[in-house]
Amino acid sequence: MNSPIRRISAGCLLLCVALLINATYVQAFWADDLNARSENRRVLLDEYSRERGPILLADDTPIAQSTPVDDEYQFLRQYPEGPIYAPLTGYYSYNYGRTALERAQNDILSGDDDRLFVRRLIDLVTGEEPRGGAVRLTIDPAAQQAAWEGLTEEGFKGAVVAIDVETGGILAMVSTPSYDPNPMASHSIEEQTATREALLADEDEPDLNRAIAQRLPPGSVFKLVTAAAALESGDFDPDTEVPGPAEYDLPLTNTNLPNQSGDACMDGTPTLTEALRISCNTAFAYLGNELGDDALREQAERFGFDTQPLTNDDMNAATSVFPADPDEPQTALSAIGQFDVQATPLQMAMVSAAIANDGVLMEPYLVREVSGPDLVSPIERTEPEERTRAVSPETAEELTQMMVDVVENGTGQNAQIEGIQVAGKTGTAQSSAERPPYAWFTSFAPADEPSVAVAVVIEEAPDTARDDIGGGRLAAPIARAVMEAVLGS
């Protein structure tokens, strides 16, 4: 009976080896993969039990921080400013993961970033609980507050972006309606679920960051790009007269493009400056066809169209687009920011910022620096970076003067600031007959030595009659308030 017992022993050995190999495979080779899976609650719990680093504004006000609590998660993530900064912070939810900066800067905030390696090593040796690093933003609380108040006072649905023209640092990023991220970070799963379901059910999409993630037809604010292309072509200067009849006969079609007012612009042949001042549709449609879609697209791309912005901060920003292959009537419509031209508020702020910065477009960014858990020692600081030369310094100067004319004598008079010259452009974009137009405004100030550029879009204004919706009336005052807040501080 000994030989079968020996064979059975060998069989047991085989089973034993199989168990050992399999355990080694799971725990040594498959482990990284398993730990990276998003539904792995162990990894999340581990993260939760560590003190996550704060997200700070330019003046060190925390907009996201972890406070110790007495439950199994040990730390509660809190957003002291709530909805104002929700599009920036996003939320940090046990059940639903992370969004916005909580996601993009997770490695730093959780302390897993390689740049914090030495720090972790010290913590390991000294027995300190490891903590996450801090993320400091370029956001100016005064500008953010002004934009928030401007949009929420009358219950507008819209967004505001303000940019420091010399660096590209984003000074304000507001999107309304917003939501309170605190319940999403609650330690009660039921509260998280209820909040999440309410967010998903809300038709206004409060968790959509309209400032960077939603593209809309820019309408007349896009005329800045068309004007820039015209000036850059060398065939036009601010005083060149262009035809501006009451209706522009769209080539190849039977339809005509009318002016908003129904009348001819000025005497029918406005100068470029006059055309911009009164936002003359027919003149710019004409310019569009004169320049051609390639020239328009090239100019738009030099302002940042067709390239995703904010990739350095990994914020999932939408890419603004200029149509790829429009025919002649479509080109004419594109030149006045209609047809398939789509832009985010961030993109339109970049257009103004580039004009303000002598024609140089700076790479926009949100994170000024990241530092270790002590908040003092910066690990990395974002250096301002030139992206493209959008227009020549001369063109920039001419465009500035034209935009000043818009604010002083034209459609943008609501943006005037006493004692400071403001340059701006209004826009009122049609999307469809069913819904009210989008009110746009983009501007920068002071015109002689610009420091801040702003873009405002109002998607819906509940208490305003359809005919009263216009960039100059609704959006310009908000832009003014934001510029004042930046310049005053």
């Binding site: 009976m1 000994n2 030989s3 079968p4 017992i5 020996r6 059975i8 022993s9 069989g11 047991c12 050995l13 089973l15 034993c16 199989a18 168990l19 050992l20 399999n22 355990a23 080694t24 799971v26 725990q27 040594a28 498959w30 482990a31 990284d32 993969d33 398993l34 730990n35 899976r37 539904e39 792995n40 609650r41 162990r42 990894v43 719990l45 581990d46």
Partner: protein, 463 residues
């Protein structure tokens, strides 16, 4: 085979020149190590989870030492030649199991560890009883049919109306006063004894008589009949009770033992074919089984389910583990029972899990070794059945929780929470100790026995 036996019968055992090593000193040293590991694990659970030394650490050490000391002393008296490695392995495994149950107690706010410690005391008591009352393992072979019947009866008990009791869909429990007991655990051991006893009587017929069919030697129906009846009955009852693990285990043990008895590899092939066929049939018919197989193919269809959580736990532990008390084994459903292996893998890491697997393998190898050394066929069969069955159980449950094979519900011997399993495994170990004692005991000098047998007058000592 028959040659083997013939040799055993005719050859006089070589006289021992030196006094044989009993190994009791070695056992004592190893036991001190085992108790040390167990106590250290228990204390480090509290240190890891709560940051303090448990207040009852000394009492725990005392209790564990007392139980172990009793077992050790009884071995010294009743089985002095027993394998010295077996008991220390069992104590180490029990200690690790207790530490992990205590760890899960802390997480869940329960006090199951003390219950488990009580059951361990019961287990040691039964261990002692077996060693005291079963002086020679051959007495167990006397009543194969009665043993088979008793085993079946135990399996049927949970299906009876009043005492039967169902937990987590498996009707395998009976109520004994205020407690519940799984008679299946006892039935397993009794059925192994019955198989061994029966096969010893019939193995020649099983191996030699019969027809050859498709290259496989089929035994005669009347030789195979009774045992096939027992086996089918056992499987049938287990399927009715909706408990897959023990069915597979019992079938596996049956096939292994019949192979050892007949030395015909065809039995193994037949067994594997039957398992595959049964598996396919069950997959198609029993939803419970199909579900298990789905979870095996893709554990993440339910990310918070048992297998997925078990894998996450193992991955979270990695090579060195989180440290006792510092992982989250409580996230794995029923971590204290079927999934205690993955809980230990999480907190002790791959290193700890490998150590545990090797302890099991060592224990099984000691049992198989006793089987090789034993001189009587019943002892050989019993030792091989107990040891290989034990390791098969370990493989089925640990392979299940580490996703090597589909999951079937079985307890992890000595580690899992549960009185019946713990107590009956102590009985199993008592039998292995008894068998290894018999295997290693030097044969009595043949000359003296032949002298007394042939002497004309026998000296009878009175008083």
């Amino acid at each position: 085979m028959s040659l083997d036996r013939a040799r055993a019968r005719t050859e006089p055992p070589a006289p021992e020149a030196v006094a044989p090593r009993r190994g009791r000193g070695t056992e004592l040293v190893l036991l001190i190590f085992a108790i040390g590991i167990a106590t250290f694990a228990y204390v480090s659970v509290d240190l890891g989870a709560l940051g303090r030394v448990p207040p009852n650490a000394m009492a725990y050490l005392g209790g564990l030492s007392a139980a172990t000391a009793v077992a050790h002393i009884v071995i010294r008296i009743r089985a002095p030649y027993a394998d010295p490695v077996i008991l220390p392995i069992v104590v180490t495994l029990c200690g690790l199991g207790l530490a992990m149950i205590h760890r899960l107690d802390i997480a869940d706010g329960t006090t199951r560890a003390s219950t488990q410690l009580t059951w361990m005391a019961v287990g040691v008591t039964l261990f002692v009883c077996v060693l005291l009352f079963v002086r020679d393992h051959r007495v167990l072979s006397r009543l194969p049919y009665l043993a088979g019947l008793a085993g079946l009866l135990l399996l049927v008990l949970p299906l009876l109306p009043i005492i039967g009791h169902s937990i987590r869909g498996a009707r395998i429990w009976i109520n004994v006063g205020p407690m519940t007991f799984q008679p299946g655990e006892a039935a397993k051991i009794i059925l192994i004894i019955a198989f061994a006893a029966y096969l010893v009587q019939t193995r020649d017929a099983l191996a030699l008589a019969g027809r050859r069919f498709l290259g496989v030697d089929l035994p005669r129906a009347r030789d195979l009949g009774p045992i096939l009846l027992v086996w089918l009955g056992a499987l049938g009852i287990l399927v009715v009770q909706n408990d897959l693990g023990p069915s597979v285990l019992l079938f596996g043990i049956f096939v292994l033992m019949i192979y050892v008895a007949t030395e015909r590899i065809s039995w193994i092939i037949l067994g594997l074919l039957l398992i595959l066929a049964g598996g396919f049939a069950a997959n198609a018919v029993v939803s419970h089984v199909a579900e298990r197989i789905d979870f095996w193919m893709d554990p993440f269809i339910d990310p918070q389910g048992q297998v997925a959580q078990s894998l996450y736990g193992l991955a979270y532990g990695g090579l060195l583990g989180t440290g006792l008390g510092q992982g989250r084994p409580d996230l794995t459903p029923i971590a204290e029972s079927d999934f205690i292996g993955s809980a230990l893998g999480e907190e002790l890491g791959l290193t700890g899990l490998i150590a545990i697997i090797l302890l099991y393998a060592l224990l099984a190898s000691r049992g198989l070794r006793a089987g090789l050394l034993l001189r009587d066929p019943f002892g050989k069969l019993l030792a091989a059945g107990l040891a290989a069955g034990f390791f098969l159980q370990v493989f089925i449950v640990l392979g299940g929780v580490t996703r090597l094979i589909p999951l079937t519900g079985l307890t992890t011997p000595f580690l899992s929470l549960g009185g019946s399993s713990l107590v009956m495994n102590w009985v199993l170990v008592a039998l292995l100790i008894r068998l290894s004692d018999a295997a290693r005991r030097p044969a009595p000098p043949s000359s003296s026995s032949s002298l007394t047998d042939t002497a004309v007058t026998q000296v009878v000592r009175i008083r």
